[in-house]
């Protein structure tokens, strides 16, 4: 069985699954239950100067009956006394010496950083995480994402922390920037030992249409919140990979953003995360989800022939290229398995209205463009009259038919098909060999 033990810039944990700094890491009692459930580490709910929270605080994005595909909060850092938190940190560390306890911090002045770092170390923390990410509330006071958005400030505060700390310092970045590299490089320049990303995305989760108030509602109003959950995963994956593929980022990454299961975790690890942090999935389903995360990741590593989670770190990064490097001669076309097709026509309508009019149907009249395959070269100036196709011999009438000459291999039909493995994208051999846009530019072809 693969070894899940994780070593990240001097912080050790039995597995790469850490709880992100958030409500699931509010107090010692919660974190002890989480460790009992199997979590390898926890980043304590951010400590700082006393704050006051509002009610309500959370909002969710549901989609077609699926609850919480996205989640938002306008909760601030811990609202519990620092003394209480430090006592609990000490108790947790004492009882769980092999688990990682990282303390998230957010204060303003150099003196405040000095004091809070000292107290965290006294409590026995394994590491620190500098919260430069929250895009709500604290940023209005010059902390959180307002630091993460200013690389020079980020670098400076990181260097203060490094000056005071004897334990590893992770820098947690905000995704609310145009380019994640400058803050990432600033974290390295400031001496950070690791980078955590992403924090939440600045957002408005929705509007209550009955009374036209923003959500989550505080009286008759709301404020911009921090958005997270499964729906932000692609944004987070990109930012993790953007740092992981840059040679100047020499410190390890803790990946965060919409991780709900071992598959998500494996993707983050393959794109360069050494550990992963989870919040929303636990807020929805509880600490118990980690059991499958451990089991699933371990089974996956075994199937891949990898003996440790470390061997997976960054394995997919080399495949992350600029568009100009992609092979313009690579081609796939859609193939529909007539045995599996249930005749829902979702591929047909998606291709017809949403893509390139390459799928035709004999089930009803077909409104697709039926010209010679010209891949959009000729002008289409009129709506074509509907055609009643005769189905190809041997193919049941309900099965749509892909015009392979016209198909541009976009994947859309496969993505909308409700039947597993019914539509596959088949590679078409091209004798032309590989040629990218950059190759063409270099050869003076464009």
């Amino acid at each position: 069985m693969a070894d899940l033990k994780t070593h990240m810039c001097g912080i050790e944990s039995p597995n790469p699954f850490w709880l992100a700094s958030a409500p699931p890491t509010n107090c010692g009692e919660q974190i002890m239950r989480a460790f009992d459930a199997g979590w390898g580490g926890a980043v304590w709910k951010t400590l700082g100067k006393p704050i006051v929270n509002v009610s309500s605080r959370f909002g969710a994005l549901d989609h077609r009956g699926t609850k919480v595909v996205g989640f938002t909060n306008i909760e601030l850092i811990t609202d519990r006394p620092l003394e209480t938190n430090f006592k609990e940190i000490a108790a947790v560390k004492k009882r769980y010496p092999k688990h990682a306890v990282i303390v998230s911090l957010m204060v303003e002045t150099k003196q405040e950083w000095r004091e809070i770092i000292a107290r965290s170390e006294d409590a026995g923390a394994d590491g620190l995480e500098l919260n430069f990410g929250c895009p709500h509330g604290m940023c209005e006071r010059g902390m959180g994402s307002s630091v993460g958005q200013e690389p020079a400030v980020l670098e400076k505060i990181t260097s203060w922390a490094k000056e005071f700390a004897n334990i590893p310092v992770l820098v947690k970045l905000t995704p609310n920037v145009g380019d994640i590299l400058p803050p990432g490089l600033a974290a390295v320049a400031g001496g950070g030992d690791g980078i955590s990303l992403i924090n939440t995305v600045k957002s408005i989760i929705g509007v209550d249409l009955d009374n036209l108030t923003l959500l989550p509602r505080v009286g008759q109003a709301s404020s911009n919140g921090g958005y997270c959950g499964p729906a932000v995963k692609p944004i987070a994956l990109h930012m993790v990979a953007a740092l992981a593929r840059d040679r100047r980022i020499t410190i390890p990454i803790s990946g965060i953003g919409g991780i709900s299961d071992w598959r998500d975790a494996a993707e983050f690890i393959a794109l360069g995360s050494t550990s992963v942090q989870v919040c929303t999935a636990v807020m929805r389903d509880g600490y118990r989800i980690v059991e499958d995360m451990i089991d699933g990741l371990s089974g996956y590593l075994d199937r891949q022939g990898l003996s440790s989670v470390k061997e997976l770190v960054g394995r997919a990064v080399p495949g992350f290229l600029d568009w100009g490097e992609l092979d313009l001669n690579y081609k796939v076309v859609a193939k529909i398995d007539a045995e599996k097709c249930i005749g829902c026509n979702l591929c047909y309508i998606a291709c017809l209205d949403g893509a390139h009019q390459c799928i035709h149907t004999a089930k009803g009249t077909c409104n697709a463009y039926h010209g010679e395959a010209d891949h959009g070269k000729n002008p289409r100036l009129e709506v074509m009259p509907p055609v009643q196709h005769r189905q190809k011999a041997g193919v049941p009438g309900h099965v749509p038919n892909v015009d392979e000459a016209e198909c541009i291999g976009c994947n859309l039909c496969q993505l909308v098909c409700p039947v597993p493995d019914c539509i596959t994208m088949e590679e078409v051999t091209n004798p032309a060999g590989k040629e990218s846009w950059n190759d063409r530019v270099a050869a003076g072809k464009v």
């Binding site: 077609r64 249930i342 005749g343 026509n345 979702l346 047909y348 149907t361 309900h398």
Partner: protein, 445 residues
């Protein structure tokens, strides 16, 4: 009849049908949302093609999912003004839900009937709440249509006509409108109150109803043709057919629709406790219905006697399966030959198997015949073309009979099908009448 009597209040609270609750109750909001979100929203969907009225099923289900219930109800009613009763009585298992692509994925098909019930009932409730009608009838266009029978076919036809500004006048011989929806549909699908509520809603669009008027006696086709711009025949079927077995012409021996009408409507009607075994003759849906109703109402033993093999039955398999859950037994390949009586009371039905001479005695106290109903066409044969089965012959598209300006629909043209078929006939006839006068029906697809 002037004014709008409250038929629902006229129903007795002491009716046997009230003992049988909805087998498929109204979905809760949570149930409806979960089920609606399960719909794949197929394009050119098989469920639409399987619906005789071609309701845009994925369209109305999506509107349930977005909680646009008024829009959802309108989508349904545009295609089928009897959307309320069809939601409850349609054999969705062999129509829309039977065609659902989920069947091919070995998943439970979408509960289309129950979603339709949710949308239509909430749509109508919103109409009452907001005072905003789903459909506003157009101003009168100076045309009048007479409709025979206040059952589903006529009501659908009249409703579409009324919305287009035509004045429909419906003649009904019985005191209560609704046809078989009121008197014949299985109580666990639809009670009289619900059937009459739908009728009242339909009539509110500007339909005149005259009850207690018998076609052929109080009014004639010739008179109506002279007084109206068109006539629609939606008189359904006649009384129960009879085998006329020896011993069958007195107490304890029933025609199925006659007995069902008593269960549904007759105040104080009871099944005597002496009825320990009831035998139903027939293999159609009416036979299955009455057998299941008797079993559900507490008759200890109910047996269906059918002359051929189970696979030959015209009743739906899903209905037979449901009846068996309530204890109904089926005796196939059995032909009834006579009824035995003791002191005037039924004591047995004698049957033979596979044409054998030897009769087998089935001791029982009630016998119900469910072998179809009389076709009404013959009484019209002087004027209209009637087929060999006694059905009124109509044009397959317009539902016009062999007589210009006379249209027909529902059981009198198909020999006894579903409410949804009647609704389609009524709608198509209405559209055809309008087109024949040079109007373009606004609800036509």
């Amino acid at each position: 009849m002037a004014g709008k009597p409250n038929w629902r209040e006229s129903l007795s609270p002491d009716r046997l049908e009230l003992k049988l609750d909805d087998s498929k109750p109204l979905f809760s909001r949570a149930e409806a949302l979960t089920e609606a979100n399960r719909c794949l929203f197929c394009y050119d969907a098989p469920c639409i093609q399987a619906c005789p009225t071609s309701i845009d099923i994925p369209g109305f289900i999506r509107k349930i999912a977005t909680e646009n219930l008024r829009g959802s109800a309108k989508t349904i009613f545009k295609a089928n003004m009897l959307g309320v009763s069809c939601a409850r009585v349609c054999p969705v298992e062999v129509l829309c839900a039977g065609a659902c692509v989920y069947n091919d994925l070995d998943h439970q098909p979408i509960a289309i009937g129950r979603l339709q019930r949710y949308a239509t009932e909430h749509g109508l409730a919103a109409e009452v709440q907001t005072g905003q009608k789903l459909f506003e009838p157009k101003p009168a266009i100076g045309r009048r249509v007479a409709l025979i029978g206040a059952g589903p076919a006529s009501l659908a036809c009249a409703a579409y006509l009324a919305l287009e500004g035509v004045t429909p006048v419906v003649y009904e011989k019985h005191p209560l409108p609704g046809g078989l929806n009121t008197t014949g549909v299985a109580p666990y699908k639809l009670h009289g109150e619900a059937a009459l509520a739908e009728v009242e809603w339909l009539l509110n669009h500007g339909i005149e109803l005259q009850t207690g008027v018998e076609f052929g006696k109080d009014i004639t086709l010739e008179d109506l043709r002279q007084q109206f711009d068109a006539v629609f025949l939606g008189m359904g079927l006649g009384t129960d057919n009879r085998l006329n077995l020896p011993g069958s012409r007195s107490a304890g021996y029933w025609g199925a629709t006659q007995l069902i009408a008593k269960l549904k409507g007759e105040p104080g009607f009871q099944i005597p406790s002496t009825v320990r075994h009831a035998v139903v003759i027939g293999g159609g849906n009416t036979a299955i219905d009455i057998a299941r109703e008797l079993a559900m109402l507490g008759v200890p033993k109910v047996t269906m006697v059918y002359r051929r093999a189970e696979s030959d039955m015209s009743g739906y398999r899903h209905e037979m399966k449901a009846a068996r859950i309530f204890g109904v037994r089926l005796l196939p390949n059995a032909s009834p030959v006579s009824v035995s009586r003791e002191k005037g009371e039924v004591c047995a039905l004698n049957v033979t198997f596979n044409g054998s001479e030897d009769a087998v005695v089935l001791p029982c106290q009630w016998v119900v015949e469910a072998i179809g109903q009389e076709k009404q066409g013959h009484q019209l044969s002087t004027w209209l073309k009637i087929d060999a089965q006694g059905r009124v012959v109509t044009d397959s598209k317009t539902r016009q009979t062999s007589l210009a300006g006379v249209y027909a629909g529902g059981d009198c043209i198909n020999g006894g099908k579903e409410v949804v078929n009647a609704a389609e006939d009524g709608r198509e006839a209405a559209f055809a009448m309008l087109r024949s006068w040079g109007f373009s029906p606004s609800l036509a697809p």
